[in-house]
Amino acid sequence: MGAEFDVYVRRNTWLYALDPRVKLALVAEAILFTFLWTSVWAALAVAAACLLLLWLAQVPAGRIAAFLRGIVPLLLMVLVLTALFAGGSGPVLVSIGPLRVTVDGVMQGLLLAARLLALGLAFFFWLSTTDQAAMVRGFVALRMPYTWGLTLALALRYLPILAGLFEQVREAQQARGLDLRQKRFFERLSAYRPVLIALLISALRNSERLGWALEARALGTHGIRRSVFRPLHLRRTDLWALAALGGLLVAGVALRVL
């Protein structure tokens, strides 16, 4: 229940073993390349590269498919809305009342959707191959305060638990006769009130406990510098990966500028 939020899958491939900072650099470069060119093809090429990396990392195909299934409706919505409302010049393909769908509008929609896909896949690659502790170590090594990193990690850790809690609360209220299948939006919103309040009370109770549990684990001990269980060291593979990323970056920028 709710475990679908837990994106990370453990695999023993060199891509998993990469330093989290290197993976973060990879994501940054993917974002840069997506926006370096105003081209659907460039964005699609980045998306394809991310898919290739996911395949090389041996992330289960089912997980990738589930992610794509989830993002497709969003992409379609972006495409349709942009095509309908972006206007733009160029030949008119369809006219619906005051709305004109132009070739430019469609191209703009495609570009936005392709960029969204590329970004989505880049972050999906990062979340699937980097566990929470490595993520925090990466951020802290990049000089982010530890408490920020820990907060992010805890948020990721408790998302599935909160989702499970929501499900349990919803079932408990339904079992009391609460009908959540209202037709109208506002009726449904008000029907969910008992669920949301009970969820909030439970979440507050839990967060108090969590605060106690963290203190009981000596978080914030005075006068002690926190140590790191697995300190990050750039290894040979990391350096090679960084070099490759750097080369790619130089080549990409040169191609764009020249």
Binding site: A3, D6, Y8, R10, D131, Q132, A133, A153, L154, L156, R157, P160, I161, L165, Q168, V169, E171, A172, Q173, Q174, A175, R176, G177, L178, D179, R181, R193, P194, V195, I197, A198, I201, S202, R205, N206, R209, L210, G211, W212, A213, L214, E215, A216, R217, A218, L219, G220, T221, H222, I224, R225, R226, S227, V228, F229, R230, P231
Partner: protein
């Protein structure tokens, strides 16, 4: 009782009151002069009613009380020579670890080894040493192969062992645990008690365990401390403390079943019975049975009684149409897990069914089909002949009430009164009818004085009662209870079960999901055991206790009194005994063949 070695824990005249829950209210006094000394390596259980201050005492050991909770704190708590009031919680973590009831809310990492490393990292332990500590702590809790696992995918018992290991990795000499087994199944509970006993024995760790698990306390613990009225009212070995079963019952705490039996037998005969463990009880009672059977003994007329004939087909053979019916029901979760496989079962109105099985056997999935929260993948579930696939949950909820394990999942209203009225309002009842039912429910659960308080601020036991009252006020025809007694003391449990019995006697059907076999023996008329998504047994509890292979398969154990009577049956004791009262009555009949039994 003061230990000869210098105490690891020394509590002197501890008074503590929580800050008022509502603005302008009075502080809530919990501890009123606690004095306690606990030696290194002792395994001590703290018993007391719900709200007696057990958690408070545990939290005082690592400084959470008063540093995190505020409130009024007087007296002194010293752990390994450090006064907890003078040190910050984080600084005390190396001396005293604290494990909470809900493992979910104390595990913070995505991997077991990172979880264990978190504490030592906070203490600035060098990375090489953290590695050593992680290995040592995982080994100590018997989870050596679990380094790389995600805590999200562990069982409740395993999560709790990870939480204990995470504390051990900080190398505390004192470990306090606040009801760590309240939400676990019997296998999980046994694993934790075994582990704690071993940690105390082999690694000289001082263990302070707040718990309601009286049977296991009797078996594993060296010393029992009873909190009553804010002070330590009893402090001795389990045998001595539980010998005062009548007093413990009067205080609402209860006693292990064999201790209760001993006190009952002592009360109704002119002999003294004193036993706590199975071996002791068997030895003493078998000896007496043998002497009774000797020529001239006072029961020489008795021959071993035959095992009563028991129907193996349950009680569902009523000619009338069943109230609840499962017809070849299978259910698969979206991830493909087959949770029910071809289950067929009929329940007549007014039955009291205990639904049993190991965790993951399909009990909760089964129960959620009764009010339509889940709909069968194949087959059909009928409630009053209505196919649940065609009915909305809201409609089925009027017929089948469901009390969930955790009351906090349903509590949301601003007052207890409104919480109870919520379900009634959904049914569209008139104001007068609603008021009448709310008043009935408040009175039935002794909540009248708290009627205008926010239910979320009440104690655990009372929150459970509010949840139960809210469901019973809707007057369902059938009631599903999912582990309703976990973490409750004897008196709260008896009160809750009394309400359930009243509901059942007035014609309501009860389906009780539980691991507590004493409840099954004393209350249920039919036991349904599930394993691997199938019903593997369906008959009277008495018949279940004769079927060892079913009990083993479902990881269940018959109550102590049932097992004792089974062992004594060859010596002339009546077979098929289910409770202390039945045992005492049978014993009385043996001892005084012509005498009656006074009320038990």
């Amino acid at each position: 009782m003061i230990s000869p070695t210098p105490p690891a824990i020394l509590i002197r005249d501890l008074h503590y009151a929580y800050p008022p829950p509502l603005h302008g209210g009075a502080p809530v006094s919990v501890l009123r002069g606690v004095n306690l000394a606990i030696g290194t390596g002792e395994f001590v259980a703290v018993l007391g009613r719900v709200g007696a201050g057990k958690s408070t005492l545990c939290m005082a050991l690592n400084g959470l009380v008063p540093h995190a909770t505020g409130g009024i704190f007087r007296g002194a708590v010293t752990v390994l020579g450090r006064n907890t009031k003078a040190h910050a919680i984080a600084d005390l973590a190396q001396s005293a670890g604290l494990v909470f009831q809900d493992p979910e809310m104390q595990l913070t990492q995505m991997r077991v080894e990172d979880e264990l490393a978190f504490g030592p990292e906070n203490l600035g332990v060098p990375s090489g040493e953290i590695e050593e500590r992680v290995t040592w702590a995982l080994d100590a809790v018997g989870l050596a192969g679990y380094r790389d696992r995600s805590p999200l995918h562990l069982s409740g018992g395993e999560k709790q062992r990870v939480a204990i290991a995470a504390m051990l990795a900080m190398r505390p000499q004192v470990l306090a645990l606040d009801e760590p087994t309240a939400n676990l199944d019997p296998a999980g509970k046994a694993a934790i008690f075994n582990l704690l006993a071993r940690l105390a024995r082999e690694r000289q760790i001082t263990i302070v365990l707040a718990t309601q698990e009286l049977e296991r306390v009797a078996r594993y613990v060296q010393r029992v401390v009873v909190l009553h009225d804010g002070v330590i009212a009893l402090d001795d070995t389990p045998a001595t403390v539980f010998a005062q079963a009548p007093l413990l019952r009067e205080w609402g705490i209860g006693a292990p079943q064999l201790a209760e039996l001993a006190s009952l037998l002592t009360k109704q005969t002119d002999r003294t019975y004193r036993f706590l463990r199975m071996g002791e009880a068997y030895a003493q009672l078998r000896g007496e049975l043998k002497s009774m059977a000797e020529p001239g003994g006072f029961a020489d007329h008795l021959a071993p009684s035959p095992v009563p004939q028991i129907s193996m087909s349950g009680q569902s053979e009523s000619n009338s149409r069943p109230q609840l019916a499962f017809e070849q029901v299978s259910f698969n979760y979206p991830d493909g897990t087959a949770a029910l496989r071809d289950v067929s079962l009929a329940v007549a109105a007014g039955e009291f069914i205990a639904l049993l099985g190991a965790n993951g056997s399909g009990k909760t999935t089964f129960a959620k089909h009764l009010n339509g929260l889940l709909k069968p993948t194949r087959g059909c579930v009928r409630v009053n002949s209505r196919d649940t696939r065609l009915a909305r949950v809201a409609e089925l909820a009027r017929m089948v009430g469901y009390v969930f394990q955790n009351p906090d999942h349903q509590i949301f209203a601003a007052t207890v009164e409104e919480e109870i009225a919520f379900g009634l309002r959904l049914q569209g009842l008139s104001q007068a009818e609603m008021a009448e039912r709310v008043n009935w429910a408040l009175a039935a659960f002794a909540l009248t004085l708290s009627h205008d308080l926010p239910p979320a601020l009440l104690g655990w036991g009372q929150r459970r009662q509010v949840a139960m009252a809210a469901v019973l006020a809707t007057r369902p025809q059938a009631l599903v209870l999912d582990e309703p007694t976990g973490g409750l003391d004897a008196r709260s449990r008896d009160a809750l079960m009394a309400a359930v019995t009243t509901f059942n006697r007035s014609g309501g059907t009860v389906i009780l999901i539980t691991h507590n076999m004493r409840l099954v023996a004393e209350y249920a008329s039919r036991a349904v055991v599930m394993a691997g998504g199938q019903v593997v047994f369906d008959a009277a509890p008495r018949a279940l206790f004769e079927r060892r292979e079913i009990l083993v398969r479902a990881k269940l154990a018959a109550p102590a009194v049932v097992r004792l009577s089974q062992r004594l049956a060859p010596f002339g004791l009546k077979a098929g005994i289910l409770s202390c009262a039945e045992f005492a009555a049978a014993w009385q009949r043996l001892a005084e063949p012509q005498g009656g039994v006074d009320g038990c």
